[in-house]
């Protein structure tokens, strides 16, 4: 049963991941990302991490992807990317080659190393408990062993909120970048790279 769930979810996760990278339309990428994140949430359940599965659905699909889609709609950034033109010659092939090498190395380590790739001993003090629930055990760890990290996390979130407000505020003297023609700021969603190629720069 566990294997069957894993196989189905692995298929969903990989298909979604390829969809994120391969979709021309960013909205389709975001929808594929939701499929991937849901698949991973089910895999978390399969691994016995109930709290993380729920947090995954709420935080990632409920907040992060919605935020990304929101910005996409706000900016009208759903223009399709042109795959035929390659901005840097040979870059895609090189990226694929590096990816394949990296993947090959990691898979080789896993296949050759088997169980021994996980170093360290089985936990004694922080063993996954069968008597208490997953959420209460994680909560206890967060507020005892990792309490300082938790406090720093609160600081990080505050900084992120303040930073987002500062970044998103519209400056009074908004000007186009100096080396670009004035009119480009009013061109809607035409990408600058396309403009340059049409005018023969």
């Amino acid at each position: 049963m566990e294997t069957a769930v894993f196989l189905v979810c692995a298929l969903i996760v990989l298909a979604g991941g390829l969809g994120v990278v391969g979709s021309r339309n960013p909205v389709h990428s975001a929808l594929s990302l939701i499929a991937t994140l849901f698949g991973i949430a089910v895999l978390f359940l399969n691994l016995g991490a109930q709290l993380l599965a729920v947090v995954q659905v709420i935080v990632y699909t409920g907040a992060i992807v919605v935020l990304i889609l929101f910005v996409m709609m706000l900016l009208g950034g759903d223009n399709e990317e042109e795959f035929d033109i390659e901005p840097i010659a040979g870059q895609r092939m090189l990226a694929g080659l590096v990816g394949l090498l990296f993947l090959g190395a990691m898979l080789a380590i896993i296949v050759v190393g088997k169980e021994s790739i996980v170093t360290g001993s089985r936990s004694v003090t922080q063993a996954i408990s069968t008597s208490t629930s997953n959420i209460s055990q994680i909560g206890r760890e967060l507020f005892t062993t990792y309490v300082f990290a938790l406090e720093i996390t609160a600081g990080l979130l505050t900084i992120a909120v303040v930073g987002a407000v500062v970044l998103a505020r519209r400056p009074k003297d908004l000007q186009p970048l100096p080396d670009e023609p004035e009119s480009l700021t009013d061109m809607g969603d035409v990408p600058l790279t396309l403009m340059h190629e049409e005018t023969g720069h």
Binding site: L52, L75, R122, A168, R170, V190
Partner: protein
């Protein structure tokens, strides 16, 4: 190998990590690049939970919790930057951002 499920989880997250990394390298739309970073972070999260299960340790799950918080903060700042850039150059791709000033 068929019976050894934890190793299969590790392989899945390795593949997902590479998909995200290659996507980050080849795509030009900044929003899609953020999504690819999310893919990589999720692959690492899956690895953490699998390691936690292999060593019977709750810390793996606690660390994933922190990774999620950092990922949320990163997305907020990234989207803020994208909005700020899009004000000056609508439809800007990663290739248009050559200068760091203003």
């Amino acid at each position: 190998m068929g019976t050894n499920l934890p190793l299969a989880y590790l392989m899945l997250s390795a593949i997902l990590f590479v998909i995200g990394g290659v996507g980050l390298l080849i795509r030009r739309n900044p929003l899609v690049m953020i999504m690819c970073v999310e893919l990589m972070l999720n692959a690492v999260n899956l690895t953490f939970v699998t390691f936690g299960k292999m060593l019977n340790d709750i810390s793996g799950q606690v660390i994933v919790f922190f990774v999620m918080v950092v990922a949320a903060a990163e997305v907020v700042i990234g989207l803020g930057l994208i909005v700020a850039v899009a004000r000056r150059k609508p439809g800007a791709s990663a290739d248009d951002l050559r200068t760091l000033r203003g």
